[in-house]
Symmetry: C2
Subunit: 193 residues, 2 copies
């Protein structure tokens, strides 16, 4: 599994033995689109690394409306962080949007690797730092930008996702209804011509 190793070695270098030890703790799974890997109420046991395909995490509020927390494509990690670290029932769904090959790292193996290969604790610290910064930026964007501006940023940040996923998912990610998204999109097109 070269992709996951490469992605780690962008931040910390591993010896061949460490790579082997690390690899021995991983599990690979193939999943079809529409598979639900995790549902609210369940305890998240794994960090999921995406070898191929696309996943999303989302929740559903009282009004039966979905809100996307995160998309994950090739090379990204996904999970229910709250449930994973607290080992309490989570609030998120994790769903496969496009047929996917995943690398699973269980909570226990991850904790053990922190001890056996401290460099991996550093790697995950850096990974989480970056994730935090991205979430902070998105939070501020939701407070201060219009739906149109958020959509523009989304297009720039995830240009490939536009093709891969239904646009109602993007609407949900930027925080508007599919109906409004459609209206907005056609308005933006008109204004650009």
């Amino acid at each position: 599994m070269p992709l996951i190793i490469d992605s780690i070695e962008k931040h910390v270098l591993l010896t061949p033995e460490e790579k082997e030890l690390f690899a021995s703790k991983l599990e690979i799974q193939q999943h079809k689109a529409k598979t639900i890997l995790l549902s609210p109420g369940e305890i998240c046991q794994y960090s999921y690394f995406v070898n191929s395909g696309v996943l999303r995490s989302f929740n559903i509020n009282d009004n039966i409306v979905e809100h996307v927390l995160q998309f994950a494509c090739k090379g990204w990690w996904i999970g229910d962080m709250y449930s994973l670290i607290s080992q309490k029932p989570g609030n998120l769904f994790i769903e496969v949007l496009e047929d996917a090959e995943l690398v699973l790292l269980s909570k226990e193996n991850q904790e053990q690797l922190y001890i056996e290969i401290p460099k991996l604790e550093r790697f995950f610290r850096i990974l989480i730092e970056n994730s935090l910064v991205a979430h902070q930026e998105r939070l501020m964007d939701n407070l201060s930008l219009s739906a149109e501006e958020r959509f523009d940023k989304f297009c720039k940040r995830y240009p490939d996702l536009m093709q891969k996923i239904p646009q109602k998912q993007i609407a949900s990610y930027i925080g508007v209804t599919p109906e409004f998204f459609s209206k907005m999109k056609s308005r933006m097109l008109k204004n650009k011509i």
Copy 2:
């Protein structure tokens, strides 16, 4: 400085020598309310731990409106995470809201401590994990809850802050204007009587 040590030892235990080494890397500062510790365009050099007082981080968008990213009271850390890890110019103000005593840990000292006391890298990993979870929850709340519901959650999560800071700051944190916040508050009062 027992508070910062105690807060670390909730997650990892330090030997007396480690505590001393750690303490030797810290700097203590007193600051008056209204002091701006960091402005957009500057590179954030420190993680700030609050011994007493209250701080906030916020940005200002084109329309000259402020948005609060975070409050920090006694026992909390604050900084411009983006700028701190990238060492590029940041986007945030960090301001003292109530006279404060701060413990400063410089970026370089923090990096060095990760090497000298790996347990501290673990501590900060855990700290950042918790912060990420909190930001994820706030993001989802902003997508799915009404202003009134967000205010309720804020009151429960930060009951002490209500007394300490001007309510326009709370309005900014939950993502509404001070005028609307005032209207909403009196409406909520009426409905509860």
